[in-house]
Symmetry: C2
Subunit: 267 residues, 2 copies
Amino acid sequence: MSRRQISGFSNPTVKFLRSLREKKHRKAAGKFLAEGLRLLTDARESGHLPEILVMAEGREAHPLLAALEAEVVRRGGEVIETSAEILSKITGKDNPQTVCGVFAEFDTGLAALDRGAAKIWLVAQALRDPGNLGTMLRTGDGVGAGGLILIDDCADPFSAEAVRASMGAVFTQQIAQARWEEFLPWLRSGPGQLVAASLRDAVPYRGAPYAAPCFILVGNESRGLPEDYEAACDLRVTMPMKGRADSLNAAVAGAVLAYEVLASLDG
Amino acid sequence: MSRRQISGFSNPTVKFLRSLREKKHRKAAGKFLAEGLRLLTDARESGHLPEILVMAEGREAHPLLAALEAEVVRRGGEVIETSAEILSKITGKDNPQTVCGVFAEFDTGLAALDRGAAKIWLVAQALRDPGNLGTMLRTGDGVGAGGLILIDDCADPFSAEAVRASMGAVFTQQIAQARWEEFLPWLRSGPGQLVAASLRDAVPYRGAPYAAPCFILVGNESRGLPEDYEAACDLRVTMPMKGRADSLNAAVAGAVLAYEVLASLDG
């Protein structure tokens, strides 16, 4: 347990916190940053407590912040007070929120996922945009999905942009990263329908025979899904494209499909 | 008509092109940049020809590029050849595509919108994220919307990020910018149902009584819609939120709703 004030930009802790904006440093430390009282409260209520809590001097008092601070201290975490300028350096934002936290990265792992715990699971393949990835986490929270499975080389779900776009869902959704060669045998080892939006051999997405647990597979932003991944799906569905474009934004396509599946399985 | 090669970073035309990455320079010139042969071809086929076409030296020949170049020359536009390095400076991307174009900004204007031309229109209010705005344009193309109406202070639809996220839909969708005080009287001057996702006094979004032309209103990313804007809607609908979050990403919410409206009106 410790509490301290930091006033220097060159303080090693400040350097460490700033370094977490880069993926290689996040992976080396196994830590990531999340910002804002709302996000940190969502985290706490979902069982994720920051190891380090950084608060701006001169912040307004808030009961949720006081509760968070007390719990971090009780659990042996570190509480740091610093200037708004240094907080801005840490988060890389001109207008930082008054609090941020350092969390341990996590990976639920395929083996630990309880596929029966939810009717919907989202699966992203080689999704490169952290904003899209965070948006998928947020959508997963919306439809009551169990979590997000990241296949092949996806953006980092613990990047600042993904965490921000997830609006706290990074803490409520389970996250597992796996190669396709690991994912497919795991999927086939139990119940689970694999569904993708596709132009090949597809049925209309409205009224398609969805079944729980339904795994909704979304492909890379520019290349879509590899052909053999699509072929491995139990169900290929197509959405109307009335204009010139032949596809939707990946996170949008996943969301339209997820809400259709939700209506189908709940209806 | 002119054709020329530019090899210097300090060339005034290069400086002008680079300046278009900033909003104030775009507004001063009334021009914007779009990048990539796919996008420029979509633009041409939708009736938008670049005033200036910039191509990288050493690019691969392509019949669509040759056709584009010929048409720009025929219409009295300018064709510039330059190095990949300078093209990269212009677009601000490390790996620029081999072609970009300068287009005149446009605003269809409310008065010129033919509301009967489409069953769906998207309306964004104070949408601040250019990626969300471009994604909404792309979704509009997908559902066959007539266009996107931007209410109050939205992100610039002609920013590089919005243009890129629109995947060409910036050229296929009509775009009108208006204050709420202008929009509402215009809307009420003819047929049109105004629909918003809302938590207040709302009915389930599935099976709600949508009617064409249906104007789908999406609010600001963090504040949502002002209460009086919601109150002015003909229909307030709610989407299931099964998790902790109380809202979806703005572009995602608009898309889920737009596809529901499409199914309802086409079904």
